[in-house]
Subunit: 157 residues, 2 copies
């Protein structure tokens, strides 16, 4: 079990030159409730089953297990509520921290977010130029909400 | 992925002399819907996360993954709806088939069922003397239902 502490930001602009070696992610949810999330994720040639608990500040309990890719494909098709989340994930190093940039496609085309994982909620880190407004606590940007209300349908962006 | 074909029976009497090496099972459900089940099971010193699909005849799609025992204990406590299912499981060989006998405890104390796994829905097998009425399709005996309506509360048994 891991406690996951993440902060999520919008981008002022896309640092295109840094976006290399993207991995295509397709994920769906078997459970998508406030108290519990069961997620199936295909990430490149790997696949994972992930269980997450309730969000408390920026921390949440997370359990993740690798599963066979074929199982994940079947489970995504059989058990998950449409539409799936599709995004390309990039990893960018900046001043000792790794940023994860998710560029969405499909129903969430146009949305790009950057996340940083921290050891504690108040850990100090420096933001790159291209980092914009923090949206960690804005539930609209939760992947689990982007299924119900995809970015392409938002009136205000 | 496996297609699971099981038949479930009540017992005419308990074949006590055959009930050796029982394994205590504790399990809970993160999702417990008709279309999808996510189950966490502690079985002796092992633990499993299991995903099951919709029942069609006696067959259903099942995906099962071993998980660390400590993770399972935490997930049972954090994410599952009470009460848990508790039962002791015994394996009994009879004429080339393995029967699984589940003797329930806790809120389902008094209930005992026997299950046989088959290769096809119409595979022929011989029943031991102690096998009673078939309840494969009686949803009251599904583990997922025994959480909502435990055996101890049944008016007619």
């Amino acid at each position: 079990m891991a406690i996951e502490i993440e902060k999520k930001f919008l981008l002022k602009y896309l640092p295109s030159s840094l976006l290399t070696n993207g991995i295509l992610i397709r994920q769906g949810y078997m459970v998508n409730e406030k108290e519990r999330v069961v997620r199936i994720r295909l990430a490149g040639d790997k696949a994972f089953l992930t269980i997450k608990g309730i969000t408390c500040n920026a921390a949440r309990k997370e359990y993740e297990y690798p599963v066979p890719q074929q199982d994940a494909k079947e489970m995504l098709q059989l058990f998950c509520k449409e539409p799936l989340i599709e995004k390309t994930r990039y990893h960018v190093e900046f001043k000792g921290f790794e940023w994860v940039i998710d560029q969405f496609s499909g129903d969430n085309q146009g949305l790009v977010v950057a996340e940083i994982e921290l050891d504690s909620v108040d850990q100090v880190f420096e933001k790159p130029d291209w980092i914009g407004k923090e949206v960690t606590h804005d539930s609209g940007y939760f992947n689990s909400n982007l299924i119900k209300n995809p970015y392409s349908t938002w009136q205000i962006k």
